[in-house]
Amino acid sequence: MNKIILSIGLSSLVASMLLANQADDAKIQQLLKDVKALNAMKADLEGNARSGFQLAGYASFDWTGGSGGSDDFSGVKFAPIFHYQYGTIFQFEGELEFEIDEKGETVTALEYAAGTIFLNDYMGLQIGQFMSPIGQFVQNLHPSWINKLPSTPVGFGHDGAAPTSNIGMALRGGLPKIANLRSNYVVFVANAPRFGFAADGDTIIDATGKSSSGGASQLLGARYALNPIGGMEIGISGATGEAFDDTNTSGTSQNIFRTYSAMGADFMYNDQGLDVKAEYIQQKVGDNVSSTLEGGTWTAFYAQVAYQINGLNIEPVLRYSDYENPENRKKQIAVGLNYLFANNLIAKLAYENDTNSNIDDVSRVRAQLAFGF
């Protein structure tokens, strides 16, 4: 009897020890998991900071062939964008553009460099050089991984009808919903543009940001955009002020001042792979009797339709653009086909036909590999 009791006692002891060991193992495993999670959290916290920066940007490589010219690997562009942020109250952003020209030289440009102080949920104060808020293409659609064709619409490049950038200050942001509609705005004051000759002798409105107004009155401008439905935006924009004319031939070095105005209207719509964009831009410079250079109006328009075919990663594009200045009128039809390796890695093939009022028609084929990062 005693042996039986002893056996039961020993069995119970061994069983309880085994159970205790199992419980200890589970606890140890849980503790190891907790330590691992805490270490990960510690590493994550160590990586946190109130300020930090990010390198973004885009790059593209171009090929062009066509009537009246040789076949060329015609462009290499690298545009790094630097973002620095302090908490939730400030961000600096700057974009450099590096391009190789036909002589093999590197062309650099500071596209924009501006800091924004976020004053509240609806307003940021931006100071520095910023992309022109007149219209949308120059401001938001020019990066090669965003632009759906390898080229810009005629009149929307540098020294065309669309202003490029401004040096000044802007108030901008999204507004509280009005009748359940979203909208956004920009109001800006900036240095005056220059009116005169380009390096090739053409008369231009040089509307790239400058660190001086040349004595002319500064620009006051604004853009307001409304989102009537989710994927749609309709914007209107304008600016007024003076341009300085540095072509004075009277023997004095003083600039001549001219009235200047700009206006734009833009439309964007995207739904289920369909993408529609259209924009009209106008810049106007008045006459001045002190100058032999006549003023005039520079206008540009484009309309573009693209459609991403679901599942095939293929996107056909059609664009019409029209650019008129006092010396010339140019129309362009461009048809393209894009292949999306990824949403930010795109191969483009396009055919363009230009009709000029001064010279014969020109056609070309363009190819481009573009990516954003």
Binding site: A56, N140, I146, N184, V187, V189
Partner: protein, 89 residues
């Protein structure tokens, strides 16, 4: 100078608008993300950038796309919630 005064007046009047910071709304965030981003460019899916890079990118897009602060926080919350371990592959 008059033009700067206009900016200063707007600045002082609108900067008085109080922030009404709400908890981030990921449902609103996904709607803004789908509607607003595609107007200009192809969608960058949450896996495209790291969590930290998304924070800076969304501030950049707040300026570029004219988002309110709350809309920016909503989109960022949706993106961060959508990220998975598979994003690293």
């Amino acid at each position: 100078m008059k033009k700067l005064l206009i900016i200063a007046t707007l600045l002082s009047s609108m900067s008085l608008m109080a922030n009404d910071v709400q908890p981030a709304d990921t449902i609103n965030g996904v709607q803004i993300w789908a509607d607003t981003c595609t107007r200009c460019h192809n969608l960058r899916e949450p896996a495209a950038l790291s969590k930290r890079a998304w924070k800076y990118s969304m501030t950049h897009m707040r300026v570029r796309a004219g988002l309110t602060g709350q809309e920016t926080r909503d989109v960022l919350a949706f993106i961060l919630e959508s990220k998975t371990d598979e994003d690293a592959k």
